[in-house]
Symmetry: C2
Subunit: 252 residues, 2 copies
């Protein structure tokens, strides 16, 4: 049984709360947030507090707050020599106050309060300074139902960067498609199955193998036609840059 | 009961074959390909031919061949006044020989022979010159289990272009993430759940609402750090262009 204190009440913390609460072999001892209102409705299910001096003892303290708040919060914790971890893709492990045993439990997923998420779909990237702490965190990840990976700081920062490509940038391409199709009164719903299938395809074959389309074939006629169809300079620039990137990747 | 003759044996035609064969209320009367070997193994399930003069009568002839071959093939068909449709996103309806009743049945999905595809996940964009033919094709689409949409030539070409953004370009972003993570010996598997979740998110909320990340927040510190981490000029250029696009979309 691993005992946990959860700190923060944003997207990640809220999902963690539900997963920790449900997990066997996890004793969620307390939930802290600087402001009580956001966690008040849970007070019958877990002990809540907004006072750091009231924090109880636990095997792991998970700090799931805004990146900039991780360091000051770790300093403000009124104890030492306990395992304190953050959940950020970009904050260093050494940004945690060195009075603690330190670690990182970075869930590589996109969290928003509104949508449900099964932790079996949340890979957890673990970094610790001590082997023994790695064992604790990997046991915790397993208890949540997650797959876990041993990831050092440099790798974690690279993963965070990769996540920007596959999540934020991909989503912006969806947005561009939405803009283009809206302009011709086309229902965006028509594109949704393709969006899903594109993501599904790379679950079992590599993006390199999955590529198709005019850029890969270097189909100049279609590329020219598409550039003519695009009315916004910004859309044209994205079309050109990514078309050239695909051509280069596939030796065209 | 709608009778169909299928022409071509590529990715689309092969998926159509299986779906048509299985569909109730569809009588798949014949399968033509210019070369027999690719359809020979089906000869016990359907009448096959490589001779246009042997084509039997049917309600609909579906030409699912390479874009450039659609027009010459429609001219070569040795009959007239029957409903002949192609499956292309970019070929015009008037590229079909005018001796035919003409239509388009454009399946907005990515097909590859190797992976299974349920036609309930294939939106079908229908265009016809005559109302009566639209009825025939929409009945056919329903028989396949597909959702169908009435889409004119301009809209279809815009959809084809949008598909390049959400399919080919998105896939190239996956590829970039693969390159970046490979360079640091990171298992690409870690990114797969995020890829899937990103696509799932926009099934029920708009890409605009779904956006998160450093560009949307205009988090200059992280953006600078990411640009420093990127080793390839090509990756940097994509990062910069899409970061600026997101900032612009979200008024930063
Ligand atoms: N969202 C994701 O998809 C995602 C994915 C992986 C990792 N992460 C990481 O997880 C962490 C939390 O992200 P999030 O998306 O959950 O953030 P969020 O939804 O914006 O929530 C931020 C939380 O931090 C608290 N907070 C902010 N400033 C604070 C301060 N100075 N002192 C104490 N608490 C403070 C907020 O408290 P109030 O409620 O009082 O405002 C809130 O509970 C970050 O390190 C982030 O990089 C996020
Ligand atoms: N692939 C997709 O994801 C997708 C999605 C939506 C729409 N489409 C459209 O569907 C159509 C077919 O695409 P596909 O991906 O199935 O193509 P494909 O896999 O490349 O197959 C092409 C087919 O066309 C035949 N063909 C080529 N040139 C010909 C000619 N001059 N005369 C007669 N037949 C010829 C080929 O015959 P052989 O077998 O003898 O070579 C083959 O059966 C295209 O219009 C395409 O734009 C494709």
């Amino acid at each position: 049984m691993i005992s946990v204190v959860l700190i923060g009440a944003g997207n990640v913390a809220t999902h963690l709360y539900h997963a920790l609460n449900k997990a066997k072999n996890v004793d969620l001892r307390q939930w802290y947030n600087r402001s009580l209102p956001s966690i008040e409705s849970y007070k019958n299910q877990v002990s809540i507090t907004n006072n750091l001096n009231d924090l109880v003892e636990a095997d792991v303290y998970i700090i799931a707050v805004s990146d900039d708040a991780v360091k000051p919060l770790s300093i403000a914790l009124p104890f030492e020599n306990r395992l304190v971890v953050h959940t950020s893709g970009s904050v260093g492990i050494h940004d945690l106050d060195k009075k603690h045993k330190r670690g990182v439990l970075y869930p590589l997923q996109t969290f928003s309060k509104s949508s449900e998420l099964d932790f079996s779909n949340v890979p957890i990237c673990i970094e610790t300074l001590e082997k023994e702490d790695f064992k604790t965190l990997s046991t915790l990840a397993k208890a949540l139902g997650s797959t876990y990976y041993k990831i050092n700081t440099e790798q974690r920062q690279t993963l965070h960067l990769s996540a920007v490509f596959v999540n934020n940038f991909t989503n912006q391409l969806y947005r561009v498609a939405h803009e283009i199709s809206d302009a011709k009164s086309i229902d965006f719903d028509i594109l949704k199955p393709l969006i899903l299938e594109t993501a599904k395809k790379v679950q079992h074959i590599s993006p390199y193998m999955a590529q198709t389309g005019p850029a890969k074939r270097n189909d100049k006629k279609t590329i020219k036609k598409h550039l003519k169809l695009l009315e916004h300079q910004d859309h044209k620039a994205i079309y050109q840059l990514l078309t050239n990137a695909i051509k280069k990747t596939h030796g065209r």
